[in-house]
Symmetry: C2
Subunit: 488 residues, 2 copies
């Protein structure tokens, strides 16, 4: 079975595509750059979404829904914003088709041209802040803590399933505040939620940091990020949280009457994570046998395989285990398909990354035992039938922890320091990962480094120690190290 | 407070708009025909979605995600389908904006014209069946029971919040089967789920039936429907389930190898309900004081108002009630805002349709009592503090039942029989509602009746008694009665 997947060591990119395809996560569609998320892949995204949604609601956020379309003129109101998004957007120009007069088929009806073109939202700051103008009058209307789960479109030229697609699903939070301090606090609170979600649920360690001016969201004052490291030692931006200052309030004239009866512009944040996280999940844990999913996000946490096939005695034991697992809130499937052999099933569930496999066979049952195999290490153990559910409950926690620790060790081993440009290049071309280095703070140097090495400035870590040094490229003075890496 | 809402008797349509606005359910947006669903309205939709999603999953369906865009050529492959949707669709023709050479602003970049135009999906049969061609090879791949929660766009000329909007949210199920019988069975199973959801959760009685040829979904062999009746005695199509035969399989060449090793076209169904249900919910139960929401779908089931304002003693009693309610899984909010008077709060929660209000005041507390008011009837009762939660738990069930029974009586009182055209017209212009009448079965007569009375053929009820009769318009023979009504 494993031969159907390219080994990571052979071709990492092909390995990724093989996993996405063979584990039934997603497909390319007939529409350029748009993907079909298959049921098994979508179930993982649903688990992510439900957990994040819970965390947002617990911190006072509510969901709403804003239009898919943005009038062209709105996009233009914030100068940097339009610059950032105009070059890759889907433009709706007409609202009707018609039969071609020559009978050749269906064509766009030229008489149904829109007065103003509509852009399929690449992000919703503009349409939302245009709406907030009507909703916010006084400090009593603030803060406004709104999120939406939505699809957005960015006409990317080079796409990869989950990681970069023309249409993608995400959540975008858009909050409004009466003070700058409160908005910054919200920006960082969300970054903490993203970190917690990435580490505790995805078992994917991340570094929190702030982006350089060059990497900032178009229209933001500051962009905060969580950065992860994939198994090919390339970084992945996994989520961003933006402090927008008063930029969008000014562009859309959103003012409020303060407690002191003064008219002021509203302060804003926006933040998002997307289906890209599914790509990050795959690349953090999976191996040459297939997908590996942390138990907390698995579409299916355990599977029971009868050996060699179901019968009355095995069914009875399986029913016992199923009942006990369901009692504990653990999802489980009993694969009773008598046409497929156990070995085939083992490989299939391995491919799909089901965290725990329970083999129930006559010989084990004579000793009142079942065989439990864990996906992360491949280890197998015989366990008493009666204690199986309790064992699995603990095992799922252990697997979750093990995946995180393994990923953290991998990541920590790949944070290197470089104090000169040769070392810097050597690391990037060698083991890769994050390189912590001094930088003179200019966009010019940042772009030059990218040109020379393909590494981008991932972030200035929030927990950075202040340390005087010299820029690895220009030798100009620097106050702290920043992280560079080749990235997705 | 109630004066801010137009009375139903005065102007039903304005009453509806007032409720949507005053109860913070939705707003018009800057984009023609597209709405903003506000947090309070969206919470109701989320409750609907979660319940339906549970019912779909319990019957073996899984979620997936298909592209927002449909290539123009796909829409044209099923002849009736394109006829039904081509006249009202958003067409993407370009993928980039640019700065106008004359500096006048941002314009569409003429060099970024798409080779083939993309349609923003009005429904997804075409793109999904194009995908199913790759997924279905053998009878072992069937049935395929897939649903998606998505936004779709139909360029409607006359829109109304929730009831008819250019962009709307819905779920669309698309299933594939190896036999016609199984597909028909699925179509009806979903219709039953829709009926159960409408009646048990929305407390909105519906009639299940099949549509006439004229009212059929574009591309379906049969369209089944659930039809509800609003308080202005107009019908609302609340959900449809389509048996598509092999139409889309043939259009997209989707064949499977049967158990007998024969290549056959796949059988299909599709089915959907949308945010229109929120409009139906509002119009079924609300009154001149504001929104009324059945407890099972309420964003907030109970609210505690301190009288006249919070203090240590009232807080202690409130905490007791909150803990007991939460134990029972009942959502509750304690409104501690000391700046607003109780009367103002009462009116606000009445407007928002919170099913149960708990007033806690010193005088009642001396007798160890609280006052409980129900939104549906306005009745108030004093109840012992310790028994309040148990009382409310029962009351919520009672309110849910009462709303359904009231709506059912209203609806049943408005199903009339007509055996001649004068009586038919008289009923439609009088009390309205459904008129059960004989019809000759032709589209011509159906359209003529619509032209003369504005009534449309809502459905041929599934539980129809066979009864010979004569068409009310043409006098031609008929085998059964059908239901006509003026409708949304």
């Amino acid at each position: 079975m494993s031969k159907v997947i390219t080994a990571r060591s052979e071709d990492y990119s092909q390995w990724y595509n093989d996993i996405v395809k063979r584990a039934n996560l997603a497909d390319h569609s007939a529409v350029r750059g748009c993907m079909v998320i298959k049921p098994y892949g979508f179930a993982i995204w649903e688990n992510m979404r439900d957990q994040l949604d819970k965390m947002f609601k617990e911190t006072g956020h509510v969901n709403a829904s804003f239009p898919l379309f943005i009038p062209k003129s709105f996009l233009s109101k914030e100068a940097e914003h339009v610059e950032g998004f105009a070059k890759e957007c889907a433009v709706v120009t007409h609202h009707r088709l018609m039969n071609a007069p020559d009978g050749s088929g269906v064509i766009v009806d030229p008489s149904a041209k829109l007065e103003e073109e509509l852009i399929v939202r690449p992000t919703s700051e503009t349409i939302i802040w245009n709406t907030y103008r009507d909703w916010i009058k006084s400090y009593r209307d603030l803060p406004l803590l709104i999120n939406q789960w939505a699809n957005v479109v960015r006409w990317e030229m080079r796409t990869r399933l989950f990681l970069r697609t023309a249409e993608f699903h995400w959540q975008e939070g858009h909050t409004a505040h009466s003070t700058s301090e409160e908005a910054v606090e919200e920006t960082l609170k969300i970054l903490d939620i993203y970190e917690k979600f990435a580490e505790e649920y995805m078992a994917m360690p991340v570094i929190k940091g702030v982006k350089s001016v060059n990497e900032r969201f178009a229209g933001a004052v500051d962009t905060y990020t969580i950065e992860a490291l994939m198994q090919d030692s390339k970084a992945l931006q996994a989520g961003t949280s933006h402090f927008l200052g008063q930029n969008f309030a000014k562009a859309f004239d959103v003012k409020f009457l303060s407690e002191n009866n003064k008219e002021e512009y509203v302060w804003a944040t926006s933040w998002g994570v997307s289906t890209r996280l599914v790509g990050g999940l795959i690349m953090t844990h999976s191996d040459d046998q297939g997908l590996v999913v942390p138990p907390k996000l698995a579409a299916l946490q355990a599977v029971i395989v009868p050996i060699p096939k179901p019968d009355a005695i095995i069914n009875e034991a399986a029913d016992k285990v199923i009942a006990a697992l369901k009692d504990k809130g653990i999802s489980v499937k009993y694969d009773t398909d008598a046409k497929k052999r156990p070995g085939f099933k083992f490989a299939e569930y391995e491919m799909h990354g089901v965290p725990v496999r329970i083999g129930i066979g006559k010989r084990d049952l004579e000793k009142n035992q079942v065989e439990i195999a864990r996906r992360d290490t491949g280890e197998k153990t015989s366990v008493d039938l009666d204690g199986a559910a309790a064992y699995i409950e603990k095992l799922l926690v252990e697997i979750q922890d093990n995946l995180f620790n393994k990923a953290k060790k991998f990541r920590d081993d790949r944070i290197s320091r470089a104090d000169d440009f040769d070392t810097f290049k050597e690391i990037l071309n060698g083991k890769g990962g994050f390189v912590s280095a001094h930088w003179d703070g200019t966009t010019e140097t940042e772009l030059k480094i990218k040109e020379l090495t393909k590494a981008t400035l991932r972030c200035i870590p929030l927990n950075n120690e202040k340390e005087a040094g010299k820029c690895i490229l220009t030798g100009e003075p620097s106050k702290e190290r920043v992280l560079f890496a080749k990235a997705y």
